[in-house]
């Protein structure tokens, strides 16, 4: 690698990655990062993956020795990445997740490692806010590292700060986008990340300052309130199919997934997976809750009356092309070709 010829000013940035009450999907998503050489991308960014459950050679006792060396201060722990919810149950014992081979609950390992980490990163909505594991009756008493839903606290408590003085960095998403994780770690390793770059829910602002709606390919249908009525329809999914893209913080439609994907491009609604509490919408995910025919989840920064007035106006002005295509799975009416030159 060309980069190995450069001298390093700083020692490698050690990352220890743990998985608890989640599905491993954020790790699997991370490996889909858009690079021809994933491990090269890490080392080029000075990131040393000290131990990762899917990638490292060390197993069993060897892995435990690495964790213990971090706790004892023999290995500097620059970033602790935690994926999955913190399982506090049953009755606060943490026994729903014992770290294999140690007899000790994972929540205790996380507490001990977070105490020595320069940065603590929650990878995915489970680790950030509790996520899908906290749904329903929350049988495992799952929570996030520093949040329980939208309430600050969680496993580590509201007062927790990592070695550099930052609260937990919440790279929320279910799963989280590979480049949200990679770019966060790269910024940390390069010492280019500080508190001003986190939003009110602890998320990196480089992706959380956007809305899923931005760049949505269905925007023309949205403009005219030409709505999809069933899966595979091309229309806007806000009115009938539960889409929350106009309210949800993430850049999914401008920073695409797996090449050219996003949820709305895949034909299904944004379920707000980067937001605390997404796992319990209080209604069926696939259906937009309405009062008197008007969706209750309107864009957050728009007066409701204006939205209703504009929607009714734009509906009455909807071109036939847009109206008919909205309820079809392919374009039935194509944009007209003007025979005169465009003006």
């Amino acid at each position: 690698m060309a980069s190995e010829t450069f001298s390093r000013k700083t020692p490698a940035f050690n990352v220890l990655w743990l998985q608890s009450g989640g599905c491993g999907g954020c790790s699997m998503s991370l490996l889909c990062a858009d690079t021809p050489d994933f491990f090269g991308a890490l080392s080029d960014a000075d990131i040393n993956m000290l131990w990762h459950p899917s990638l490292s050679i060390e197993s069993g006792a060897d892995a435990v020795r690495i964790m213990q060396a971090c706790i004892d201060g023999r290995i500097p722990l620059h970033a602790l990445c935690v994926e999955g919810s913190m399982l506090r149950g049953p009755n606060g014992t943490g026994r729903f997740h014992i770290l294999a081979g140690t007899g000790k609950p994972m929540i205790e390992w996380v507490q001990a490692l977070a105490a020595v980490a320069h940065y603590t990163v929650a990878v995915g909505t489970c680790a950030a806010y509790g996520g899908i594991t906290a749904a329903g009756g929350n049988p495992t008493d799952a929570c996030g590292l520093q949040y329980e839903g939208d309430q600050i606290g969680g496993l580590l408590g509201a007062a927790y700060r990592s070695g550099t003085g930052l609260p937990v960095i919440n790279v929320a998403g279910c799963p989280t986008h590979p480049n949200w994780v990679l770019e966060t770690l790269m910024a940390l390793a390069a010492d280019l990340f500080d508190a001003s770059q986190m939003d009110a829910l602890g998320r990196p602002r480089f992706y959380a300052d956007h809305l899923v709606h931005h760049g949505c390919t269905r925007n023309e249908y949205y403009e005219f309130k030409a709505s999809a009525e069933k899966p595979s329809d091309l229309g806007c999914m806000m009115e009938n199919m539960g889409c929350k893209g106009t309210q949800v913080h993430a850049d999914c439609n401008t920073r695409l997934w797996n090449g050219d994907g996003s949820c709305t491009r895949g034909g299904y609604a944004c379920i707000s997976c980067t937001e605390p509490g997404f796992e319990e919408p209080g209604h069926s995910f696939h259906v937009t809750p309405k009062i008197a025919g008007i969706p209750i989840g309107l864009p957050t920064d728009m007066p409701k009356a204006w939205f209703v007035a504009l929607a009714s106006l734009s509906k009455s002005a909807t071109p036939k092309r847009v109206r008919e295509n909205a309820t079809a799975d392919h374009l039935k009416i194509l944009p007209a070709i003007r025979k005169t030159r465009l003006k």
Binding site: C23, L31, I132, G137, N258, G261, A269
Partner: protein, 486 residues
């Protein structure tokens, strides 16, 4: 007798602890513990039935499409409908993409790095293995990861993203594929084929899938240097280390069958193959039961059929040692996975190998690699057969009260979902994942699960606290623990 507790057992999906009783350098008995519980079967209760499609993919981040497919089929069964041909083809494509990526990840990132360990430093193949497979550094591991990343762009197009797509519906796909997109999808599959043919097999896929006996395999092997292609390198070390004697399976193999075609047929057959009789029997799903005697879960009512299954934690239960229940077929232990699929589907090479040495580390990995060669050409056909003038989805209502069963094959083996719906809400939901079968604990009769039995006899070298032979055997099953304990 010495006792070893091995964990965290990594390069498997999820959490695993292995307890070994060791006598004279050999494992005498093994207990498999899945030490994490999340409770999806509890979480799903009282949810609107269609919301299962949001929750269940999140059981697992490595086989989330498989979970979606099983759930969509359970809901389709409850509706009494099947998806239109385009919907079925897209579902096959998505499932195959995930399964092929899983086989690749398993081989390059999970299984092969162990042979780069210093314990094998004296072996003639060690330098080549180290160069290609060392964890986080191996040249071919890095190429494989790049090939995987490109392969998953199929799911960006077909499913919006991976993992946790929501495009898979009981009656088709929410993402219709346009005519021009077909050629792009085809190009991506061919990129993946090129990686397999250049780096993994050093041969055309059709040549590999046509190998019809172990004799033919040895003949093919001899046509090039022993490290020409990663498949040949695997065979070199597998035969030399006698991986064909390591980790014997129970002799009974189950497959739900996979990749249905629009005419109702299956690309891989459904059934049970028995090594003693060398015959395939029909799969009777009524004879499936789950026994929770040794799980930290209520075993009220004894072993239960999943349609009537129960998931209630009981953490202080005596004699329990895992969160996994013990699934049984007709009361007996079975193994599932790529090996089982190819045995049931009667692939001649895999049948020949299994008749000689049974289910072992060698045959499990062999079957997985063979599937890469068999499925990728099928993916090309499914793409070519997409009809852009036909629907991908049909509208159909879900009844308020119904039951349904959804079966599929994940990369790791047979996956089943059983749903009961009352007044539109989920009144029971039970999941039996491949690793539930393979990593099952003992049942009420004290019979160990497939892996527990396979570990008996494994070598423990002096000074080993995480025996390398145990690692090979465990990883040969490619376990998915997060699915197991959901």
């Amino acid at each position: 007798m010495a006792r070893l507790i091995v964990g965290p057992f990594n390069r498997v999906e999820g959490d695993l602890e292995v307890r070994l009783e060791v006598v004279d350098g050999q494992v005498q008995s093994a207990h498999i513990n899945s030490p994490m519980y999340r409770g999806f079967e509890q979480i799903l209760l009282k949810k609107p039935a269609m919301d299962a499609l949001i929750y269940v993919p999140r059981i697992c981040g490595i086989c989330s499409v498989s979970q979606s497919v099983a759930s969509a089929r359970a809901l389709a069964d409850a509706m009494g409908v099947t998806p239109p041909p385009n919907g079925a083809r897209v579902t096959n494509l998505m499932l195959a993409t995930e399964n092929m990526a899983d086989h690749l990840t398993h081989f390059y990132l999970f299984f092969m790095p162990d042979f780069a360990r210093p314990v094998y430093a004296q072996q003639p193949w060690h330098a080549a293995v180290q160069d290609r497979f060392t964890a986080m550094q191996g040249r071919h591991a890095r190429l494989a990861l790049a090939a995987r990343q490109r392969l998953f762009t199929l799911l960006g197009t077909l499913g919006g993203k991976w993992p946790h797509t929501q495009s898979i519906q009981p009656t088709g796909s929410s993402r219709a594929v346009e005519a021009a997109e077909r050629v792009r999808l085809l190009a991506r599959v061919r990129e993946f084929r090129a990686f397999l043919e250049q780096t993994l097999f050093a041969a055309p896929l059709e040549q590999i899938s046509a190998i019809d006996s172990e004799a033919a395999l040895r003949q093919w092997y001899a046509t090039a240097a022993p490290d020409s292609g990663d498949f040949r390198l695997f065979l070199t070390l597998a035969w030399q280390l006698e991986l064909d004697r390591m980790g014997p399976g129970p002799g009974r193999y189950m497959s739900n069958g996979s990749y249905p075609s629009p005419d109702g047929g299956l690309t891989f057959a459904r059934g049970i193959w028995d090594q003693v009789s060398d015959k395939v029997q029909a799969l009777d799903t009524d004879s499936i039961s789950e026994d929770a005697t040794h799980a930290w879960l209520s075993d009220a009512g004894g072993a239960r059929h999943p349609a009537d299954g129960l998931t209630v934690p009981d953490i202080d239960k005596p004699d329990a040692y895992t969160w996994n229940k013990a699934p049984r077929l007709d009361g007996r232990v079975i193994e599932t996975g790529a090996l089982a699929r190819q045995l049931v589907d009667a692939h001649p090479l895999i049948r020949d190998a299994a008749m000689r040495c049974g289910g072992t580390v060698y045959t499990r990995v062999l079957a997985r690699l063979l599937e890469l060669a068999r499925v990728v050409p099928a993916m090309e056909e499914w793409i070519k057969n997409l009809r852009t003038d036909e629907p991908y989805f049909v509208a159909h209502a879900l009844p308020d009260d119904a039951v349904g069963m959804g079966l599929t094959e994940a990369a790791r083996g047979s996956l089943g979902h059983w749903i009961a719906i009352r007044k539109g809400k989920i009144s029971n939901y039970q999941i039996i994942a491949p690793t539930s079968w393979n990593f099952s604990p003992r049942d009420a009769q004290g019979v160990p699960g497939a892996l527990e039995a396979a570990l008996v006899g494994a070598a423990v070298l002096p000074g080993e606290d995480t025996p390398v032979s145990v690692q090979h055997i465990v990883r040969s099953f490619d376990p998915c623990m997060v699915c197991t304990v959901h």
